[in-house]
């Protein structure tokens, strides 16, 4: 019993929570701000990048492909250092352009680096989703006389949205996890506060508390997304009960059509 208590005391420490709990909470707020801002800005940037990537114009297409390859092929931490420390190198120029207030702040540097990074991933998600809508759908809608706007609004986007939903949720989870890098450039987000508390107390359990908070966020989003996907794909799944109501003919039964086929002429 004593050993169990000792082990629990080693892993969890409630005194720590009463003393430093507010720090963790303020860290959660910063993390939430970073994630929500980066994801929304990234989404806005992703659409033009995706269109450029799918464009027929070669320079535009290869430019977008290059952007995506660079941001997906290098570590986010390296990109963050480039923005944060790189800004210091061109400080006179930034001051002249009236932009130094932005790059001086680790918070804005994180938002910029994370937005540019997630935009590359989200652009690929959108491209995949748009590509999953078959050409025939567009052609049929155009043949019915729908304007290009209506084809996009009523035919392509509703289907692409469904295909993009799950990967976008995964990307949101990835951004939450990646946002911990902000702590390395001195931002006091959840990870930053955790490191600070550990530096003061040398109490290992603070890392486990932080892990539980991150875990609650990512698991919560995963479950929320499962529900959203179920709700959004109702019309697709309703085919299943219909199939059950009209079971396939038993194997070996003669196909009805060919039995009654009449030779042409």
């Amino acid at each position: 019993m004593d050993a169990l208590h000792g082990l629990l005391g080693f892993v969890f420490n409630t005194e720590l929570l009463s003393q430093y709990g507010w720090r963790l909470l303020s860290g959660v707020r910063i993390t939430a701000e970073v994630v929500l801002l980066s994801c929304s800005i990234g989404f806005v940037l992703a659409y033009p990048i995706c269109r450029a990537r799918m464009s027929r114009n070669l320079p535009l297409r290869s430019g977008a492909a290059g952007y995506i390859a660079v941001f997906r092929g290098t570590p986010l931490l390296c990109q963050l250092y480039l923005v944060y420390y790189g800004a210091g190198e061109v400080r006179p120029w930034l001051t002249g352009a009236g932009l130094w207030w932005f790059f001086r702040d680790a918070f804005y540097c994180c938002i910029l680096a994370f937005s540019l990074n997630t935009a590359a991933y989200q652009a690929e998600i959108l491209r995949g989703a748009l590509g999953s809508v078959s050409r025939g759908q567009r052609e049929a809608a155009a043949a019915l006389g729908l304007s290009p706007y209506r084809v996009a609004r009523h035919v392509v986007w509703p289907q692409a949205f469904l295909a993009a939903l799950r990967p976008l949720g995964n990307e949101l989870i990835l951004v939450i996890k990646a946002s911990a890098l902000a702590a390395i450039v001195t931002l006091l987000d959840l990870m930053g506060q955790t490191r600070l508390i550990f530096a003061r107390t040398f109490d290992f359990s603070v890392y486990l508390y932080a892990a539980l908070i991150y875990l609650a966020a990512t698991e919560g989003i995963r479950r929320l997304w499962n529900r959203m996907e179920r709700a959004a794909s109702k019309h697709v799944r309703q085919i299943e009960p219909l199939k059950a109501a009209h079971p396939a003919p038993p194997r070996g039964a003669l196909p009805i059509v060919s039995a009654e086929a009449v030779p042409p002429g």
């Binding site: 092929g73 290098t74 931490l77 420390y85 911990a180 890392y207 991150y214």
Partner: protein, 233 residues
């Protein structure tokens, strides 16, 4: 000094960057057998007959996939160190037991990569029909041989694309080890830029080298997949 002089000159930092790049590749390659192997073991546990084993292995995956990789590395790194300190106290050793940062980094990365690759292996294991194992067993192979001679050779082809993705993530995650005092590519770039106040040049160079690695990995992965799929549709 010019950019070229800083990188390739006699007092340039190019050599340190190259050394760092080698450390990055070494971190990645040394982690692969432990991370991917651990993932395969984890996948086996997930398909276990015992509910408790299944639950524990699922909890492992949920935990390490649900928290930031940086936090996972810190937990493994500091957790290992405090375990070693406890061991030292209980054994009454005079000197502090310490892990080299490289070894600790490999262990921490393996723990995370095992969680990621476990999912890939589970999906691959499901594609091998149970009849194959039954047939192998009825031919007189024991369970171990049925797995290594019949199931495993078929897994590689199916698991390759997923493992390739995990490798790409791993290669980029090695940069997190730079925060634990291992002079990998990113840390070499940090040292060079602190000494020369040219961060854009050196972080840019590091990014270019990472990009070359990831392009080479993609080419390598495509070649491996072509080879694994030869003779199949």
């Amino acid at each position: 000094m010019s950019a070229a002089g800083l990188l390739f000159g006699p007092d340039g930092w190019g050599a340190l960057l190259l050394k760092g790049a080698l450390v990055t590749v070494a971190l990645g390659l040394v982690t692969v057998p432990f991370g991917f192997g651990g993932g395969l073991v984890l996948a086996g546990l997930k398909l276990s007959r015992w509910r408790a084993v299944r639950g524990l292995s699922e909890a492992y995956t949920t935990f390490f996939r649900g928290i930031p990789d940086l936090l996972a590395l810190f937990i493994v790194y500091f957790g290992l160190q405090s375990l070693l300190d406890h061991a030292q106290a209980t054994l009454g050793l005079a000197s502090r037991l310490e892990l080299s940062a490289f070894v600790a980094g490999v262990i921490a990365l393996s723990v995370v990569v095992a969680a990621y690759s476990g999912e890939v292996w589970v999906a691959a294991l499901r594609t091998v029909p149970p009849g194959q194992v039954e047939a192998a067993r009825s031919l007189g192979l024991d369970r171990k041989r049925a797995f290594f001679l019949v199931v495993l050779p078929q897994l590689g082809r199916v698991a390759l694309p997923g493992l390739g993705n995990v490798w790409t993530v791993l290669l980029k995650d090695t940069s997190l080890i730079s925060t634990l005092a291992v002079t990998d590519l990113l840390r070499a770039a940090s040292e060079a830029s602190k000494n020369t106040t040219r961060p854009i040049l050196f972080y840019g160079a590091a990014a270019a080298i990472y990009l070359v690695f990831s392009i080479a990995s993609n080419a390598g992965q495509a070649a491996l997949e072509r080879r694994a799929n030869r003779g199949i549709a």
